[in-house]
C-alpha cells in the first residue's frame, strides 16, 4: 500500500491549523523525504494536536532532537 496515502489521512486533525500546515507539507515535501525523515514525520504525527501545533508554531521545542530537522521543514511550510 502507498505510505503517503496513509500519512495523508493521519494529517486529518482536530485543529484546522494543523490540517492546513500538514496537508500543505505533505503535498510540497513528502516526495523528497528520505526513509528516516518519513519515520520521524510519523513520530511527530503521534503528538497530541495542541502539542503538535505549539511545536509547529515554534512556541515549544522538542526534548528529543531527532525530529528537529523534519520539524524545521514543517515550520518553514
Amino acid at each position: 500500500m502507498s505510505e503517503v496515502d496513509r500519512i495523508r489521512w493521519q494529517c486529518r486533525r482536530g485543529l484546522l491549523e494543523l490540517d492546513l500546515v500538514l496537508s500543505a507539507f505533505v503535498e510540497r515535501h513528502f516526495d523528497r523525504l528520505d526513509a528516516r525523515q518519513v519515520e520521524l514525520f510519523k513520530e511527530l504525527l503521534e503528538q497530541p494536536d495542541n502539542d503538535l501545533l505549539d511545536l509547529v508554531m515554534g512556541r515549544t521545542e522538542l526534548a528529543d532532537p531527532r525530529c528537529k530537522p523534519v520539524l524545521e521543514l514543517l515550520r518553514a511550510g
Binding site: 502507498s2 496515502d5 486529518r12 486533525r13 482536530g14 491549523e17 492546513l20 497530541p48
Partner: protein, 586 residues
C-alpha cells in the same frame, strides 16, 4: 452484494465530546457499544474548544441555573426550546462535577475548588452584571475533556473503530433505525453495524463555507445520512460567524487586534467602519463589524482580485507593540496568509464557526419528526447529540461555553435514554434492500464516466455559500444563491474519482464527504432564503428586525423536493415560568 454484519447494542458515530460521553454511559452499563470515528478519538474537533464549560457552580461569585437559563434563552434570541434549556442549565453543575471525578484537570481556586472565569454573555441577576461561570482547563479545555473521556471509555470497554466512515443509516419499513453501513478507510471494507440504538455525534459542518474555523473532518456526515434517510434538518440557517478569520484559511485573528488599535480597510484603503459606526468604529460589536464587512464586499469594495475580502491593518502599531501586546498574531499571519503584519495588512473575512441547527431531537437525545398534529414523534432507534443535533438549546445563536456543556449534558442524556429504551430481544431481520443506498453511492463512484472533480465541486459549493449565505444576507443574493446551490448539487451527483484503489483512498472518502456537505449546504441556503426576519445569527438586510408574530418557529428542511416545514418553539420550560421574548440588548 451481501455485506458482512456485526451486532452491537449501540453504535455511536463520532468520537468527539458528545459521542464519547454517550458511549461511556453505555459501556458503563455493560452494553456492547461500538464507536466509529474517521480519526483517532482525541483528534476530534472538540480539541479546538478553548473557552470552557458553562455551569452555575457559584465557586467564584454567586450564581444559579435560573440566571444561566435566562442568558441562554436570551442568547438564543428566543428560538431555543425552553424545556431543553432548563434541563441543560439545571444539569450543568452535575455533569461538570462528574467530569471532575472522571479526572478532568480543571483549573482550581486557592482552596481547591473548580476555578471559574468570566465569559461574554454570562450574567448575574437576569442580565444585570457579569459573573464567573466558565470552568476551564487552561486554554485546553476541549483537549482535556477528550483525553479524560477517552481514557474512561477504554477502561469501560468501549470498542473503538478508528478510521471508519459511516455511510448511511439502515432503516426498516416501519422507519425504525437498525444501525449504519460504514467503510473502513484503510481497507475499503464495507460493513453493516447492526444495533438497537444508533447515536449520531458527528459534529458541525462549517466546511460548507469558504471561510470556516472548522477542521477538515467537519463535513456533516450525520446530517447527510439523516437527510438521505428522508428525515428533516432543523434551523440550518443559523451559523455563528466570527468577523476576522484569515482569508483563504479560516484561522481566527483575535478581536484583541482591533482593541489594540488595528483597523479594517476596503480595497480603496478606506477605513469604512467610520461610516457604519462613527463613534465605536472598529470596536463596534461583532455583528455590526461583520455586517459592515459583508456590505463592503457585496457592494464591490472588497480587496483582492475577486474583491472578496477585507484588509486588517496593524503595521502602524509598530513591530514592538504587535510583538508585546498581540503575541502569536504575527506568526499566524505569516504562516496562514503569507503576510507580515508589521509591513502589510492581513486579508480577513467573516468566518463560520458554529452550527446552531442540526438533526432535530428532544432533550432526551431522541431524534424526532413532526407527528402531524403539532407535536413530535420519536424516530425509533435513532439518537443524536452535540453540534450535529438541534435540541434546540442554542436557538438562533449560541452562548459562549454552552457548546462543551451541550456535549456533556446531551451526550449523557442520550446514552441514558438508549439504556431505558433498550429491549431484551434479538436484532430484527434486516430488509433485503437495507444497504442499497450506500452501496449504490459507492458503485456510482466506481463507474462514473467523465465525472465532475470533487475538489472543484466542493470549492464551488463553499464559494456559493460564502458569497450568498454569509454573515449578512441580502434578498437578491439569497435568491441567486438558491439557484446556484441547486446547480452545484446537480454536479455533486456526478462526481468522479480517478483513483479506484481500495486502500487508504482519501479521494473516495472526500467524495463521500461532499455528498454530506452538499445536503447541509442546500438545507442552509434554502432555509435562509425563506426566513424573512433577522434573528440571532440570521441577519437579513431587507428584514432587519426579529418578527415573533410570524417567525418564532423552527425551520425543518427535507431533502425530498427541498421542502420546508415549520414547527413551534417550545416556549414552556419544565418547572419554571417561561421567559417571554424581549428585544435583545447587551
Amino acid at each position: 452484494m451481501a455485506l458482512a454484519r456485526r451486532e452491537f447494542d449501540a453504535v455511536v458515530v463520532g468520537a468527539g465530546g458528545s459521542g464519547m460521553r454517550a458511549a461511556l454511559e453505555l459501556a458503563e452499563a455493560n452494553l456492547r457499544v461500538a464507536v466509529l470515528s474517521k480519526v483517532f478519538p482525541t483528534r476530534s474537533h472538540t480539541v479546538a474548544a478553548q473557552g470552557g464549560v458553562a455551569a452555575s457552580l457559584g465557586n467564584v461569585a454567586e450564581d444559579n441555573w435560573h440566571w444561566h437559563m435566562y442568558d441562554t434563552v436570551k442568547g438564543s434570541d428566543y428560538l431555543g426550546d425552553q424545556d431543553a434549556i432548563e434541563f441543560m442549565c439545571r444539569t450543568a453543575p452535575e455533569v461538570v462535577y462528574e467530569l471532575e471525578h472522571f479526572g478532568m484537570p480543571f483549573d482550581r481556586t486557592p482552596d481547591g475548588r473548580i476555578y471559574q472565569r468570566p465569559f461574554g454573555g454570562h450574567m448575574q441577576n437576569y442580565g444585570r452584571n457579569p459573573v464567573e461561570r466558565a470552568c476551564a482547563a487552561a486554554d485546553r479545555t476541549g483537549h482535556a475533556m477528550l483525553h479524560t473521556l477517552y481514557q474512561r471509555n477504554v477502561r469501560a470497554g468501549t470498542q473503538f473503530f478508528v478510521e471508519w466512515i459511516a455511510l448511511d443509516l439502515l432503516r426498516d419499513a416501519e422507519g425504525e433505525v437498525l444501525g449504519v453501513v460504514a467503510m473502513e478507510i484503510e481497507t475499503g471494507e464495507v460493513l453493516i453495524f447492526q444495533a438497537h440504538a444508533t447515536l449520531l455525534a458527528t459534529g458541525g459542518a462549517g466546511r460548507i463555507f469558504a471561510s470556516s474555523t472548522n477542521a477538515f473532518i467537519n463535513t456533516g456526515d450525520g446530517l447527510g445520512m439523516v437527510a438521505r434517510a428522508g428525515l428533516p434538518l432543523q434551523d440550518m440557517e443559523f451559523f455563528q460567524f466570527h468577523p476576522t478569520g484569515v482569508y483563504g484559511a479560516g484561522v481566527l485573528i483575535t478581536e484583541g487586534v482591533r482593541g489594540e488599535g488595528g483597523f479594517l480597510l476596503n480595497k480603496n484603503g478606506e477605513r469604512f467602519m467610520e461610516r457604519y459606526a462613527p463613534t465605536a468604529k472598529d470596536l463596534a460589536s461583532r455583528d455590526v463589524v461583520s455586517r459592515a464587512m459583508a456590505t463592503e464586499i457585496k457592494e464591490g469594495r472588497g480587496a483582492g482580485k475577486d474583491a472578496d475580502h477585507i484588509l486588517l491593518k496593524l503595521d502602524h502599531l509598530g513591530a514592538e507593540v504587535i510583538h508585546k501586546r498581540l503575541p502569536g498574531i504575527r506568526d499566524i499571519a505569516i504562516k496562514f496568509s503569507n503576510v507580515d503584519p508589521v509591513k502589510d495588512p492581513i486579508p480577513v473575512v467573516p468566518t463560520a464557526h458554529y452550527m446552531m441547527g442540526g438533526i432535530p431531537t428532544n432533550y432526551h437525545g431522541q431524534v424526532v419528526v413532526p407527528d402531524g398534529r403539532g407535536g413530535d414523534q420519536v424516530v425509533r432507534g435513532l439518537y443524536a447529540a452535540g453540534e450535529c443535533a438541534c435540541v434546540s438549546v442554542h436557538g438562533a445563536n449560541r452562548l459562549g461555553c454552552n457548546s462543551l456543556l451541550d456535549l456533556l449534558v446531551f451526550g449523557r442524556a442520550a446514552g441514558r435514554r438508549v439504556i431505558s429504551d433498550l429491549r431484551e430481544e434479538p436484532h430484527k431481520p434486516l430488509p433485503s434492500d437495507a444497504a442499497d443506498r450506500p452501496l449504490a453511492r459507492l458503485a456510482r463512484l466506481e463507474t462514473q464516466k467523465a465525472g465532475e472533480s470533487v475538489a472543484e465541486v466542493s470549492a464551488e459549493m463553499r464559494r456559493v455559500m460564502q458569497t450568498h449565505c454569509g454573515v449578512f444576507r441580502f434578498p437578491d443574493s439569497l435568491a441567486e444563491g438558491v439557484k446556484k446551490i441547486l446547480t452545484v448539487a446537480e454536479r455533486a451527483q456526478r462526481t468522479g474519482i480517478q483513483d479506484k484503489s481500495k486502500v487508504f483512498n482519501t479521494a473516495r472518502v472526500e467524495a463521500l464527504e461532499v455528498d454530506n456537505l452538499i445536503e447541509v449546504a442546500l438545507a442552509t441556503m434554502i432555509s435562509a432564503e425563506a426566513r424573512k426576519e433577522s434573528r440571532g445569527a440570521h441577519d437579513r438586510s431587507d428584514y432587519p428586525k426579529r418578527d415573533d408574530a410570524n417567525w418564532m418557529k423552527h425551520t425543518l428542511w427535507y431533502k425530498e423536493g427541498n421542502r420546508l416545514a415549520y414547527k413551534p418553539v417550545k416556549a414552556k420550560p419544565l418547572t419554571v415560568e417561561p421567559f417571554e421574548p424581549k428585544t435583545r440588548v447587551y
